[in-house]
């Protein structure tokens, strides 16, 4: 005897109901996992902000200087140790004085890697670094003999000229007794001047001083923007 139509409908209903419960449970599981991922990311980002912040002691030591406009304090992590270990792109090894962030990928002005400070990271972007020695950050102006070349440098708009400056910075050159390069050794209690040309983003003249090196290899910099140039554009 064939089962009644009512019985078949009942079985089909149970089957469909079972499948929908299963699918719904799976969906809830994935939503829960996604929510957990988002929560973990938020926790990590909050902790990374603290980890990358200069110490309260250093901020207090430069409180007077930091009250002036276009000044700040930043921490650079050594790229070889932290890139890929932190959620922030670049592992906290980069800093943008224009965007005030360690995040890499949207234009950065300086990086720390293998005990060296670097400028010029993508495309035709380039820059020059020079060491001014152990001088107080608040004594450095655009008229300083090591800074004046950087202040007067005219940013090229042709890509070939930008690439030429990139190569020149890579090799290094001297002007008025000061050596300029895209890479310099990072030394504690040393003040540096930096011209960073970031096409389509910013063009800045910055003075900074390395005030601390922590046992994790990170450096704390106190900095001031000496001059902001018009945002450079690159003619292809």
């Amino acid at each position: 005897m064939l089962p009644s139509r009512w019985f078949i409908s009942f079985l089909v209903s149970i089957f469909v109901f079972g499948i929908s419960i299963g699918a719904s449970a799976q969906l809830q599981d994935r939503s829960a996992v996604q929510a957990k991922m988002e929560s973990l990311r938020a926790q990590i980002q909050a902790k990374e902000r603290v980890f990358l912040a200069p110490s309260a002691e250093d901020l207090a030591a430069f409180a007077g200087f930091l009250r002036q406009p276009d000044t700040g304090m930043a921490r650079l992590m050594p790229r070889e140790t932290y890139d890929g270990k932190l959620l922030i792109r670049g592992g906290g090894a980069y800093y943008s004085f224009a965007r005030l962030t360690n995040e890499y990928g949207f234009g950065s002005d300086i990086a720390l890697e293998q005990g060296q400070l670097r400028v010029g990271f993508a495309g035709a972007d380039f820059g020059f670094l020079t060491s001014l020695g152990d001088v107080a950050i608040d004594s450095v102006t655009a008229e300083h003999p090591g800074v004046s070349y950087l202040a007067e440098f005219k940013t090229p708009s042709a890509e070939t000229d930008a690439r030429e400056q990139y190569r020149r910075a890579g090799t290094g050159f001297e002007v008025g007794g000061f050596a300029y390069r895209s890479v310099l050794s990072a030394n504690l209690n040393t003040t540096y001047a930096l011209r960073s040309v970031d096409y389509g983003v910013s063009d800045l003249l910055v003075a900074f001083r390395v005030t601390r090196q922590d046992s994790d290899g990170s450096l704390t910099l106190v900095w001031t923007i000496l001059k902001k140039f018009p945002v450079p554009q690159l003619a292809q």
């Binding site: 299963g22 799976q26 969906l27 599981d29 994935r30 996992v33 996604q34 957990k36 991922m37 973990l40 990311r41 926790q43 990590i44 902790k47 990374e48 603290v50 980890f51 110490s55 002691e57 270990k85 932190l86 959620l87 922590d214 046992s215 994790d216």
Partner: protein
């Protein structure tokens, strides 16, 4: 006089004793914070692996097929949704059938983006995809008519030849009634064939079939490597001296 010197020494000692633990506390705090971050990043990566894994139900459904060699079941996340949302490079949108990983940047064979599967992502790498319809994965073998062109195609070794094939794949072309392209639209329950040429990495012919698509846009596919070709090498053309 002696008393004054002794007093100075005591003051200096107290000062140093006071400073030393403070400096140590700061570095200890940073070390503890770094450990907390590393632990959380580890937990996040584990959670991401869970998020990328196909469901137990799908694994059970294909258990017999997956017991064969060179087979697998993976989830691809839509690039436009999850790019930069996961720690894994490529946001789970890529997969390498050669390296068995979603991680982008070391050679990948397939990508899911905007409901399309794509192949050929870096340098002179290229590939061909074709849809073979609603057939079971077990039925897609080297004898399938759609696999004939893909299994006999010889990967070029000169860069201009590879670039020509890239252009050809981007435009799409027909052979024996099958359309081959470097990207194909996603269609539920359909099976596909893929030849992926990653210079210096791998050269594979793969069959795959869509198992499910979840509400988050992710797609689970079951796959099998039908043929492995020798790892292709690329000869980069040098400019002739007369042209310098």
């Amino acid at each position: 006089m002696i008393r004054a010197r002794a007093f100075s020494l005591i003051v200096a000692f107290i000062f140093v004793a006071f400073l030393a633990p403070a400096a140590q506390a700061q570095s200890l705090d940073r070390a503890a914070l770094e450990n907390e971050i590393r632990a959380l990043v580890g937990e996040l990566k584990d959670t991401e692996q869970q998020f990328l894994a196909p469901s137990a139900r799908d694994r059970e459904k294909y258990a017999a097929f997956l017991s064969q060699p060179d087979t697998g079941l993976i989830r691809l996340l839509p690039r436009e949704v999850f790019q930069d949302k996961l720690t894994i490079q490529g946001g789970g949108a890529y997969y390498s059938f050669a390296r068995l990983t979603h991680e982008y940047g070391y050679g990948s064979d397939i990508e899911l983006q905007q409901n399309q599967f794509s192949v050929g992502f870096a340098g002179a790498d290229f590939g061909f995809l074709t849809r073979v319809g609603k057939v079971a994965i077990e039925e897609v073998t080297l004898d399938h008519p759609g696999a004939q062109f893909l299994s006999t195609f010889t990967a070029p070794t000169a860069e201009p030849g590879a670039r020509d094939q890239q252009k050809r794949a981007a435009a799409g072309f027909d052979v024996n009634g099958f359309t081959y392209k470097d990207s194909v639209p996603f269609k539920r329950k359909n099976a596909y064939l893929l030849r992926s040429i990653g210079y210096r990495v791998s050269d594979l012919l793969v069959a795959f079939r869509i198992v499910t698509q979840d509400d988050d846009g992710s797609v689970v596919i079951v796959w099998k490597i039908l043929k492995r070709f020798p790892v292709p090498q690329l000869t980069v053309t040098q400019a002739s001296p007369g042209k310098l």
